[in-house]
Amino acid sequence: MIYLFQVLNGIGLGMLYFLLAVGLSVVFGLLQFVNFAHGAFYLLGAYLTYDLTTRGFSFWLAMPMATLIVACIAAVIEALLLHRIYKLPHTFHILVTVGLALVIQEMVIIAWGPLGGSVPAPDGLQGVVIWGDFIYPQYRLFTIGLTAVLAGLLWWLLEGTRLGAIVRGGSESPSNMALLGYNTLRINTAVFGFGAGLAGLAGALAAPIRGVEPFMGIEALSVAFVVVVIGGMGSYTGALVAGLLVGVVQSVMTTLWPEGARLMIYIGMALVIALMPRGLLGRA
C-alpha cells in the first residue's frame, strides 16, 4: 500500500515536473536558447499564488492570475532583453539567465522575506478521498487530474492545430517561416511567455503541496534540466515520460532510501547522457 501512495505521489510530482520542463524544452527546441531563469518563473508563480491567497483571493482565482502574470513578465523580459542574445553562444545565455534568476530570487526575498510560507489547499479540496483502505489527499488527486488534462490540451495544441504547426515550423527553420510572412520575433516572444507561464502554473500548483520558499526555484531548475536531458531536448513526449519517470523514482526512493532519492535522479541522468546522448525521445 505504501508503494501505491508513493507511486501516486510520484505521478503527481512527475506531472508538475512535466509542466515545468515542457516549457524549457519547447523554448530550447524553438530558440536553441538555454534558459537558467526558468526555475525563477516557477518561483514567481508560487509566490504570486501565495501573495494573492493571503490577500484573500480564492486559490481558483489566484492560480490562473499567477500563471498569466508570470507569462506576461516573461514575455516582456524576452522582448526587451533575451531575444538580443539568442544568436550568441550558449555561455552568454547561461550568464544572462543565471543573472536574471538571481535578480528575480532576490526580488522575491525583498518582497516577501527569506522565510517562505504556506498556502492552504483550496476550498473544496482540503479533505481526503477514502476508498476502503485507500486514503489520499483530494488536492493531490486534483493536481494529477488537472495536469493530465493540461498535458492532453498541450499535445493537441502543438500537434493538432495550425498554431502548433507554426511553432514547430519555427523551431525547424525561422528563415523559412519569414519567407511565409511570419514575424518570428513575435512568435518567439509568445512561445517564451507561454513556456514561462507553464512554469508559473507548476509553481502555483506546487505551492499548496510544498509551501513557498525563496530557493524553490533553483531546485525546480535542476529538476527541469534533468527531465529535459532525460526526455530529449525539444521533445514534448520526452518531457512527459521523463517527468513521470523522475517523479516516480524520486518518490519511491524516498521510502526505500531517502538519502539517495536525489542521487538516483542524477545517476539516471548521467546514464542517459552516456548511453543515449539525445535523450530517450530526443530528435536528431
Binding site: 495550425r162 504547426a165 514547430r168 525547424e172 519567407l179
Partner: protein, 234 residues
C-alpha cells in the same frame, strides 16, 4: 503599367564580398522572366536580397510600385513577394497538409483546394511528413506553399535542379498554369531548355551586374550571347 517587381541599382554584400554590383531588372504583370548566369554570378543573391533575407546596401526594391527596400523578410513576404528557395525550405517534421496550412492566408486568391487541383500528388501525400517526399514533390510543395501566401510575384530558385526529366515536365506545366492564373514569375534556372520553354524575357547576370536583357525571340536568335555569357569555354 507599373511592373510587378522592379529592382533598381541593387547592391549587396556577403561580409566584405561585393556580390551584387548594381542589379536592375523588372518583372511585368503576367510575365515569366528568367535570370540566367554562371554559378556565382549572384542569381540566388539577387532573389534573397529582393525578399529581404539579405539587406541591400544600396538600391531599391519595388513591389507593384510600392517601395519595400530594407524591410525585414517577413514584411516583404506578407506584402506579396514569395521566394521558393533553392533548398525548397520544406518543414521536414510537419506533414504536407501542415506545411500548406501554415502558409494559408486570408485574402489570398489561392485555397488548398486549388492547390490540390494543380498538384494532385500533394493531395495523395497530404498525411506524409515533409521529410518523406521525393525531391520533385518537395519542390511542388514549396511552390504550393508560396501560392497559398497569395503572391504578387513568385520567385523560383532553380525549381527543377536535380529532378528526373518526367518530373521536370510536370513542374514546367505547373509553372505555366500558375502564370496563366496571372502570377508573374521570376525564375532562376540553369536548365536552358526549361527557360526557353517558359520565359517571355531573359536577363543575364555576370559578376553581380545585368549584362543582357532580351526577349525570348531575340535570345533564340543570338546563340553568340548564350555562348559568351553562359558557355563554359573561356
Amino acid at each position: 503599367m507599373t511592373p510587378a517587381l522592379r529592382l533598381t541599382d541593387l547592391h549587396s554584400y556577403y561580409g566584405k564580398s561585393h556580390i551584387l554590383q548594381g542589379v536592375n531588372l523588372e518583372v511585368g504583370q503576367g510575365e515569366i522572366v528568367t535570370l540566367l548566369g554562371r554559378n556565382g554570378a549572384g542569381k540566388s543573391t539577387t532573389l534573397k536580397t529582393a525578399v529581404g533575407l539579405i539587406m541591400p546596401r544600396q538600391g531599391r526594391v519595388e513591389l507593384a510600385g510600392r517601395d519595400v527596400t530594407g524591410q525585414p523578410a517577413h514584411r516583404i513576404a506578407s506584402a506579396g513577394l514569395s521566394l521558393v528557395p533553392e533548398d525548397r525550405g520544406i518543414f521536414q517534421l510537419l506533414s504536407v497538409e501542415e506545411n500548406l496550412r501554415i502558409a494559408e492566408r486570408r485574402g489570398s486568391p489561392w485555397a488548398i483546394g486549388d492547390i490540390y487541383r494543380i498538384f494532385p500528388r500533394l493531395e495523395e501525400r497530404r498525411k506524409n511528413g515533409g521529410g518523406q517526399l521525393s525531391g520533385g514533390e518537395q519542390q511542388m510543395l514549396s511552390i504550393a506553399r508560396a501560392l497559398l501566401n497569395g503572391p504578387k510575384v513568385l520567385m523560383l530558385d532553380e525549381p527543377v535542379e536535380g529532378l528526373a526529366p518526367i518530373i521536370v515536365e510536370e513542374i514546367v506545366a505547373q509553372i505555366r498554369l500558375i502564370r496563366d492564373a496571372g502570377v508573374p514569375i521570376l525564375l532562376v534556372e540553369q536548365n536552358l531548355a526549361v527557360c526557353s520553354q517558359l520565359a517571355d524575357r531573359h536577363y543575364i547576370l555576370e559578376l553581380g551586374r545585368i549584362v543582357l536583357c532580351a526577349s525570348a525571340q531575340e535570345f533564340r536568335g543570338d546563340p553568340g550571347a548564350i555562348d559568351r555569357y553562359l558557355g563554359v569555354k573561356a
